[in-house]
Amino acid sequence: MQDQTASARKASSPTADQEAIQAVIAKNKAAQPVAQPGPMEFGIMNVSDVTRDPVANYTPSEGERLTDSLAEAVHAEEVGFDVYAIGEHHNPPFFSSSPTTFLAAVAAQTKRLVLSTSTTLITTNDPVTLAEQYAVLQHIAQGRVDLMLGRGNTGPVYPWFGKDIRQGLPLALENYNLLHRLWHEDVVDWEGSFRTPLQGFTSIPRPMDDVPPFVWHGSIRTPEIAEQAAFYGNGFFANGAFWPEDHFKRLVELYRSRFVHWGHGTAQQAVVGVAAQVFVRKNSQDAMREYRPYFNESPIYKGGPSLETMMAETPLLVGSPQQIIDRIMHQHEIYGDYARQMFLVDHGGLPRKTVMEELDLLGSEVLPVLRKEMAAIRDPQAVRTPTHTDMVKARYGDQEPRQPRPNANRGDNVTGTSPYTDSDDSIQVRLPRL
């Protein structure tokens, strides 16, 4: 992939540009498809809000919400969920400023659960730090890691990290281009608009088996983000929660069509994820009665349309297990076969006990039925989210994966062109002038 990117960058004339594009497409078409046919995944996502419980009139401490969330993540695996994702924020009333620390703790207490983010800020974080931290997490979790990139929706965060929100989109695009190279190339020479240049830089540790975590790109309305996801053959995530149900249809269609355009496979092989907010109880009357005070005081919903309107027009699912199942099946009518469905269950001050009960009910009565009903209507070619094993197989076939071993330190902590014992000495790197 790095060769293709480089050639696309160098192209100057329209003809050369077209040739470079065609070369990228041909190379992608020749490559082994990463995503394999398989079932849908279901996961829990947590935006990490610390909100007053309006029924108990009790505001949990940040520490309480952190430990509660950790317990909820572990319980998500116990009841049968496939994925757990946590958001990233740098202001109160949220707690998740360091998602990799949190997810490492979840990794240590789970066996099977895939750990993800919702979302990781690709605008205000340095791509170098992201490459390093998520590679460590990937090793710790033995490959059970993917990450979802987003721009973030809190304006003041940009200046806090020395960035300009007006450059939010180019920042996100350029930062990911760099992150991609840091994970795919041992030694990177790089120059861009938003960060100090890199010369002869190696991001450590190299990803597990030299195969980076799977990446999702999340967006609410930006076609360039869908294009970037499609260009790299990455996943596209449509956060359905809080938005009108068909809002994301056009972006998802664009992503699928550009995924095909860039030669990564069919529209069915494009990896799409969707989210919904859920409040579930044994019967719908209890669900409505119990959830209404949380809805009325929610920082998101307060002052807007009624609970009933929001339930009708957005993927806010409040009801019995069967009602939740019906509405998720409706998501399939909107988006076609997709790879991952996330549920937001702990938002807006719901206490730990309630969230745990919801997880139990979702695990025992919703997931088994959804898995069965989705499988029955799913196209046999529809793909699952690529796992670490899938990506290792696509890259190495039956060969042993690469395990980079560093060369000896020359005494200056800079290993230059040949950082690893199997590095290609013929590659020349411009080292920084001191």
Binding site: L173, P223, F231, Y232, R256, S257, P305
Partner: protein, 260 residues
């Protein structure tokens, strides 16, 4: 002006020159009015301008339909949408009608020295692309002649921001103007200015020449022909006509370098 004939194929806009040679050209003009009373002089004046435009289009051998969108009927939905992200189906449908129009007359009463809050709240909700290069006539009504500059000061700057093609003549009617023949003259002039822009395909020509240079978003409110009709999971909308994949940002998205 003619009533809409359901048996005829309607193609409101888009560059469909081939079709237009073999069929009568059909146009739709929308009146978006923030008039408050029933009947409202604001709506009446807006509609009068639209009818002038329709008459002129008809005199040039085209067919024209005038539709009216009364914002007071949508007032609750507009308020709800202003404080949440929820655009009601009724509001969505009205915005869709504007998107499907070839010209728009926008009309507001003057309240506290400017267009009404209801009028502004409605335009606040619409997709930034909705009126992109759309022929538009500005209309205001008020209780005093002292408001005479409202269309050419407050309203014109709002529609400049929305990147509409605003007709040179705008209208303001206070009490005594209704007895003045010059109001009728200006009404006729403004209507014909808009009709002439529509007949000249100004919008399509500008979009054809410079369309790729506008930043576009997918707010999902603009219906128009840009909306994909693709089957879920298929890739039939392979190239979205509203998007330029050669823009510097799209090139950056595809692994390229910003600014190159």
């Amino acid at each position: 002006m003619q009533e809409h004939d359901p048996n005829k194929i309607q193609h409101h806009s888009g560059n469909q020159a081939a079709d237009r040679q073999s069929e009568t050209r059909q146009y739709q003009i929308a009146v978006v009015s923030a008039g408050l009373s029933e009947p409202s002089t604001t709506t009446k004046l807006g509609r009068a301008v639209a009818l002038e435009a329709a008459d002129y289009l008809q005199s040039q051998g085209a067919e024209a339909t005038v539709i009216a969108i009364e914002l007071k009927d949508l007032a609750q939905d507009i308020t709800t949408a202003a404080v949440s992200r929820q655009v009601s189906p009724g509001l969505r449908e009205s915005i869709g009608k504007i998107a499907d129009s070839d010209g728009v007359v926008v009309a507001s009463p003057v309240i506290k020295a400017s267009y009404s809050g209801l009028f502004k709240s409605f335009w606040d909700l619409t997709d930034p692309d909705l009126l992109l290069n759309m022929p538009v006539v500005l209309v205001a009504t008020g209780g005093s002649e002292r408001h005479a500059l409202v269309p050419d000061s407050s309203m014109r700057e709002l529609f400049a921001f929305l990147r509409a093609l605003v007709a040179p003549t705008s209208l303001m009617a206070a009490g005594s103007d209704w007895a003045s023949p010059s109001l009728s003259d200006r009404k006729s002039r403004a209507g014909k200015e808009m009709a002439a822009m529509i007949l000249a395909d100004v919008r399509d020509r500008i979009m054809g020449a410079a369309g790729a240079h506008y930043r576009r978003t997918f707010d999902g409110l603009t219906t128009r022909q840009e909306q994909s009709q693709a089957i879920p999971g298929s890739a039939t909308s392979a190239q979205d006509p509203a998007l330029n994949f050669d823009s510097s940002l799209m090139r950056l998205a595809a692994g390229g370098r910003f600014g190159n």
